[in-house]
């Protein structure tokens, strides 16, 4: 939608903002101010989806924001390298992110700073390793 328009306007505030093919990319440290601005000024008041992908040596965290009830949608992405996987939590901007981020932490092992209670949600607490990482090894139940 109008992601490139949003990108130019925000150019002067956040240098790290980029826009390739209608997706806003921003660095993790400027994430929260950008999110606040997107929510207040551009009334993206609804975080529909927050997920993450493991691209080998770096993680990419993807936020999809939309306007309720108009319905436009915007995708914002941040990149963080694999060792120190540390992303600020958008819990204070949209409280709905609490379970999204717990699931990402559980399945991919990305820590979210100042998240109210970052624990495993889907897997057993005694489960070691994060399944959705590309280098996750496990033995299936298929008797070959």
């Amino acid at each position: 939608m109008e992601s490139n328009k949003v990108a130019e306007q925000l150019q002067e505030y956040f240098q790290s903002i980029g826009n390739n093919r209608k997706v806003l990319t921003v660095s993790p440290d400027e994430l929260i101010p950008l999110m606040y601005r997107l929510r207040d000024e551009y009334e993206f008041n609804y975080l529909t989806d927050e997920t993450a992908v493991d691209y080998g040596d770096y993680f990419e965290v993807i936020y999809n924001l939309s306007r309720v009830p108009q319905g436009d949608i915007l995708m914002v992405k941040t990149k963080v390298d694999k060792e120190k996987a540390e992303v600020p939590s958008v819990f204070e901007v949209w409280p709905g992110a609490i379970w999204f981020e717990r699931e990402i932490f559980d399945l991919l092992g990305i820590k979210f700073t100042n998240h109210p209670d970052l624990r495993r949600i889907l897997l057993d607490d005694s489960f070691e390793g994060h399944p959705l990482r590309k280098d996750f090894q496990w033995v299936g139940g298929r008797e070959v």
Binding site: R21, N45, Y46, L47, T48, D49, T51, V53, D54, I62, N64, V68, P69, Q70, G71, D72, I73, M75, W94, P95, G96, A97, I98, W99, F100, E103, L107, R120, I121, L122, L123, D124, P131, L132, F136
Partner: protein, 368 residues
């Protein structure tokens, strides 16, 4: 000094009212709830990891088993996401078949939602009547796709097969009887004073909190937010049909329940219009020209549809090979559940069951 202690009660993974294997740790002060702690993950089958080891078409049967009450809608979401990624145009006839079949699936899902809600509140007969209608829908699904619940009927680029001849008389008969059946539910469940006493004013969810906590579907519309993706951001050919979006006022359990009853009536209207327009269409193909082995271009897509429980989104990343690099599913039941804690505070145990029933979650979708 008389000191009353809080005690924790475990509405464990096996409980008649938790719609599957959800565990609620209730911190109680007598019968009133102090804190609710939902524990999920007892049905986590790792579908997102399995999808990474399957080809694009092989992922479709996994999407059936997510929200196993409305399997067609799950297929629709995934298939439209991949079509958007590959830029495929599907034939007109397939579009209409998809709309008819997914609205039927929505009615079947709401039938169960209404039925189990009456069962949770103790009305066993209110559970049986919607199941009778659902059996008729099951027969029609079996005619179309060969299976009652896990259809895997939609393919990337269209639908698996055209509608059989005996489907049309069956759907017409169903469409004639269905409104009187919904009025019957009204009489049996909605008009029941004890049902109203148990649901009116219970578990109120305000509009701002619902939007902040990214709640979606009848739960969001019950609080008065008019946000239905079929109207807000029409996908497929939903803009050719006219239907209203039922919206509640006070956001209590009754409004959420009543939104579902109204939505059944609206889906009934959509199917009627879609059937008329389908009959005028010349008999074209139902499957676009799609290569046997799908190799979508490198890239990613995020596509959302209005599922039976809420906004069902698919985020597919492809790296050019035949297997998706990453499939993430935005599951409405999973997100609608995180607000259960605030909504249940101060109410009784019986209300936790009522509120959980009104949010209408399916554990296959919560745990993915």
């Amino acid at each position: 000094m008389l000191r009353t202690e809080e005690f924790t009660l475990n509405m464990g993974p096996q409980h008649p009212a938790t719609h599957g294997v959800l565990r609620l740790i209730l911190h109680l002060d007598g019968e009133t709830i102090v804190k609710v702690e939902p524990v999920v993950g007892y049905l986590h089958r790792g579908i997102e990891k399995l999808a990474e080891a399957r080809t694009y078409t092989q992922v479709i049967p996994y999407t059936d088993r997510l929200d196993y009450l409305a399997a067609m809608l799950n297929n629709l979401g995934y298939v439209q996401a991949v079509e958007k990624l590959m830029g495929i145009e599907i034939p007109e006839r397939a579009e209409y078949i998809r709309i008819i079949v997914s609205e039927m699936s929505r009615i079947a899902s709401h039938c169960i939602a209404v039925g189990t809600y009456a069962l949770d509140l103790g009305g066993f007969t209110g559970f049986m009547y919607p199941f009778r209608e659902r059996e008729k829908l099951m027969d029609m699904f079996e005619m179309i796709s060969g299976s009652r619940m896990t259809h895997s009927y939609m393919r990337i680029g269209g639908v698996a097969a055209d509608l059989p001849e005996e489907f049309y008389p069956a759907i017409k008969k169903f469409l004639k009887e269905f409104p009187s059946c919904v009025d019957e539910y009204d009489g049996l469940i909605t008009g029941n004073e004890i049902f109203q006493a148990r649901t009116k004013g219970v578990g109120v969810l305000s509009q701002e909190k619902a939007v902040q906590y990214s709640i979606s579907g009848p739960t969001l519309r019950g609080s008065g937010v008019n946000y239905d993706l079929r109207k807000a951001r029409p996908y497929g050919i939903y803009d050719r049909f006219d239907f209203e979006v039922p919206v509640g006022e006070k956001g209590d359990c009754f409004d959420r329940y009543y939104c579902r009853i109204q939505e059944m009536r609206q889906s009934h209207r959509i199917i009627e219009q879609a059937l008329e327009q389908l009959e005028e269409l010349p008999g074209g193909p139902v499957m676009a020209k799609v290569p046997k082995v799908l190799k979508p271009p490198k890239g990613e897509v995020y596509h959302e549809i209005e599922g039976a429980k809420g906004i069902l989104g698919y985020y597919v990343v492809s790296d050019g090979t035949t297997k998706p690099y990453r499939v993430h599913i935005r599951r409405p039941s999973f997100i609608n559940l995180d607000l259960l804690d605030e909504m249940c505070r101060g109410w009784k145990i019986a209300d936790v069951v009522a509120i959980l029933g009104s949010i209408d979650i399916v554990l296959g979708e919560v745990d993915c």
